[in-house]
């Protein structure tokens, strides 16, 4: 025995049944932590008067022990205890809570929902068993469905750390872990399909595409069987909680997304994936859902929070109904100081333990509501996240609206840190692309990083996460193939999903053999991608849009574990010209810092180049027509002003014509000693529609260029 060993490695108490050696624990950290000789359990409840630790062997139906926390082990509202000599690798644990309130009946409102019968998941569980393998039907009679386990958290990161890519240099690829490689065509080994390991195998593809950040739809433990039901169109198939926007545990990765989930090694698998992405220069952003939990409303299951401390975790009406600002049954009480700390603990854990580079907050406006639902001027949670030292270099991205009617794009409380999913960018780009009138002014704002939303409050262009498509809504191919949503397969009579899609089918609803329509759709997809990739701010591309993925008009595929969601890699070959276009457009952005400014344009020449940083043109050079019926616009980015004049780049000219007729664009003079070269012309047939950066051919007529109907041209002066 080492004489310097601490004496607290020895037990001081014995459990009442005489089977377990115990010791007073520590209230912090919350959750279950390995300590010398045992496990420290710590759980809080503001109103519980007694707590019992329930221990299971992995997968066992019945617990092997129930150990009440001795009264003297409680500090404040925290029950804590060390239990010695546990086989912690095969251990599952939960809690029973007691309080002097009547048990709440299912379906009835109640402020408190304590019930000793329920075994409750630790909100701080780092590993959660019970749904170890995706889609494996659970035992519905199980007394404890989502089972807390203990993580080692001893991963060897070697020299890795979050990449800290400057925000304006990011190109985000929004994706779903399972959808990415679940399809047999992914070429991934069968045992790895649809998993973190499968994603890791596909890193070379992401590198080839050129994106430098992936944004993963929720990967915190969720229950794919939540609200599962037979598919009305195919009774052999279940509709499930496929997207995962319904969190069971905020500290645990989704076991069903891990090829090693059946071995309980999802923590290592996800970390190994992150490490490998980082090695390849790709950041990892997590879509986090703090607005509600998987417990639903009064009728929902008792999993954890409501049984531990209903009044603390949830926003409740005075009668004890759940407020529903999330549209999902309940609302997490994020500006309660206890819940706020849990959110902070959670993000700190993911940033430090998993080296996560950033977070995108689903329905983030909810995080700015007080416990009664009112929007706060300076929400403490958002402030705490913005100023946190561990999160200091993380990207914080808000979906700046909620289902309760709060819409804060441009006004989200930012504290100098928060970026926003720019829903207005999406809407404007869509309207312009389909040829709506009155859009050129708004479009001009969008391609500049939306200064009308952000400049006045001192927020940089990278505040704007620019996107035309995201998981919510049509894919890019469907955006140009459908006027209306076709959500019958969701089993809600096509009532779910957004009706405001600003989509245009190009003349026929859905798939068609008409070559003219096909060509127009291909052009429209290119127009969308190129405008996205030459806009200031941060572009976000939806998984599969680069190869023409379709959901057959379904704009809300949250419930389908099927080919409707799985990426068909056969499209890569089928639509290779589209992939090539997208890849070149990304490479073009990466090659040209003038597209990635750190600050907003000043609309003047402040480096002495003879050109303003940005200038506006139309079919006539130096004359932009902003009138409502105009559908043509062009702009010139002066290369000497790149990154606020700190680097020199080529001067770039972008012209867009969303009119149904061709237009001749007179070109402004390129800088002295340079000539116009063509990088992209979506009106030209493949392969003259795009050129690999560096190989752009000289434009024959330097005075002007004809833009075909509904097309975009990008020229480079060199």
């Amino acid at each position: 025995m080492d004489i310097l060993s601490r004496i607290d490695i020895h037990p001081t108490h014995t459990s009442s049944d005489g089977k377990f050696k115990l010791r007073r624990g520590r209230p912090e950290p919350f959750g279950a932590s390995l300590v010398p000789g045992g496990v420290n359990f710590s759980v809080f409840s503001s109103y519980a008067t007694a707590c019992t630790l329930v221990l299971f062997e992995k997968h066992a139906k019945e617990p092997f022990a129930e150990i009440p926390f001795p009264d003297e082990f409680r500090i404040g509202n925290v029950f804590n205890m060390v239990v010695f000599a546990l086989d912690y690798e095969n251990l599952e644990y939960g809690y029973r809570m007691e309080a002097p309130f009547p048990a709440a009946e299912r379906g009835q409102p109640a402020i408190h929902r304590f019930d000793r019968q329920h075994i409750l998941l630790d909100p701080y569980a780092k590993v959660i068993g019970g749904r170890d393998v995706w889609g494996q039907t659970p035992d519905w009679e199980d007394v404890y469905h989502h089972r807390a386990r203990i993580a080692f958290d001893d991963f060897d990161w070697e020299d890795d750390r979050p990449l800290e890519i400057p925000p304006e240099d990011q190109i985000i690829y929004e994706m779903h872990v399972r959808s990415f490689t679940r399809h047999a065509s992914s070429g991934v080994k069968e045992s790895r399909r649809g998993t973190f390991a499968g994603l890791r195998d596909k890193i070379p593809y992401l590198k080839e595409l050129g994106v430098n950040a992936i944004e993963l739809m929720p990967v915190f433990e969720f229950d794919e069987f939540e609200n599962s039901r037979p598919n009305p169109q195919n009774p052999d198939q279940l509709l499930v909680n496929y997207w995962g926007y319904s969190t069971v545990g905020f500290f645990a990765p989704k076991a069903g997304y891990a090829a090693t989930g059946k071995l309980g090694m999802q923590v290592d698998e996800l970390k190994a994936m992150v490490k490998e992405l980082h090695r390849n220069g790709i950041e990892v952003i997590l879509d986090v859902v703090f607005n509600h939990t998987a417990e639903g409303n009064e009728y929902g299951p008792v999993i954890s929070y409501r049984g531990l401390d209903n009044r603390t975790y949830y926003m409740l009406t005075p009668e004890g109904y759940y407020f529903n600002f999330s549209g999902c049954g309940n609302t997490l009480n994020c500006n309660n100081p206890i819940v706020r700390d849990m959110v902070l603990d959670c993000l700190r854990y993911w940033a430090s333990e998993y080296h996560i580079d950033g977070f995108r907050f689903d329905l983030a406006s909810i995080l700015g509501r007080d416990p009664w639902g009112f929007p706060l001027a300076n929400p403490p949670l958002l402030e705490a996240l913005a100023f946190d030292p561990i999160l200091a270099k993380c990207k914080l991205i808000a979906e700046a609206w909620d289902a309760g009617g709060l819409y804060q794009v441009g006004s989200f409380p930012a504290f100098g840190r928060w970026a926003e999913w720019n829903g207005k960018y999406r809407d404007t780009l869509r309207k312009f692309l389909k040829g709506d009138s009155g859009q050129v002014g708004s479009l001009a704002q969008c391609v500049q990083g939306s200064p009308h939303l952000y400049a006045a409050s001192g927020r940089v262009p990278a505040t704007s996460i620019n996107f035309i498509t995201a998981h919510d809504g049509f894919t890019l191919r469907d955006l140009v193939s459908y006027n209306h949503k076709h959500n019958e397969a969701n089993g809600e009579n096509n009532n779910d999903g957004s009706n405001d899609n600003d989509s245009w089918n190009c003349g026929w609803e859905g798939e068609t053999d008409n070559l003219g329509i096909q060509a127009l759709r291909f052009r429209q997809i290119q127009n969308a991608l190129i405008l996205l990739l030459v806009s200031q701010g941060v572009p976000m591309i939806l998984m599969g849009d680069e190869m023409g993925r379709t959901q057959y008009g379904n704009n809300n595929t949250y419930c389908h574990d099927s080919e409707l969601n799985w990426l068909d890699w056969g499209l890569l070959e089928q639509n290779n010209h589209l992939f090539e276009f997208c890849r070149h457009a990304i490479a073009f952005r990466n090659a040209h810092p003038v597209l990635r400014n750190t600050g907003h344009f000043r609309n003047r020449d402040y480096v002495g180049s003879g050109l303003p940083d940005i200038s506006w043109h139309g079919t006539k050079a130096w004359y932009a027509d902003w009138s409502a019926e105009t559908r043509t616009i062009a702009f010139l980015l002066c290369g000497r002003h790149a990154k606020q004049g700190t680097v020199t780049d080529n001067t770039i000219y972008v012209a867009a014509n969303s009119h149904w007729q061709a237009h001749w664009f007179e070109l402004p003079q390129p800088p002295a000693g340079t000539q116009w070269h063509v990088f992209a012309n979506t009106g030209a047939p493949v392969p003259d529609n795009v050129w690999a950066p560096g190989t752009e051919p000289r434009l024959e007529n330097q005075q002007g260029i004809l833009l075909g109907d509904r097309s975009v041209v990008v020229l480079l002066a060199k």
Partner: protein, 112 residues
């Protein structure tokens, strides 16, 4: 869990049979660690191991680190495809030298 050890020509060959998990990993460590001296060369023959748990992999990595700390070398041979796959997915394989057969493992240890 059955553990056989044999040292010839300065190389310790450890042959394991049975699962390596939380209950058997300490046994492996207790048997092998005393044999690790400065500059040790250790070959772990895993041919008889059908399953390794998370704790088992950790015990192995810990062993590897202790050998490396004493400027020794450790090589794994005969990993089943499934174990090798798990180790690859979870990142453990990156830290080990692994060879297909005992002969290849011995050759690795004899080089340098």
């Amino acid at each position: 869990m059955e553990i056989r050890t044999e040292t010839t020509d300065g190389i310790t060959v450890v042959s394991l049979s049975g699962d390596v998990d939380a209950s058997t990993a300490p046994q492996v460590q207790e048997t092998v660690l005393p044999l690790v001296t400065p500059g040790s060369k250790v070959l772990m023959d895993m041919t008889g191991v059908p399953y390794m748990s998370s704790a088992g992999l950790r015990a192995l990595l810990s062993l590897y680190r202790q050998v490396a700390a004493k400027d020794g070398k450790l090589v794994l041979v005969g990993l089943s495809e499934e174990i090798a796959d798990t180790m690859s997915i979870t990142g453990f394989l990156d830290f080990f030298a692994a060879r297909g057969t005992v002969a290849e493992g011995l050759q690795f240890l004899q080089e340098g």
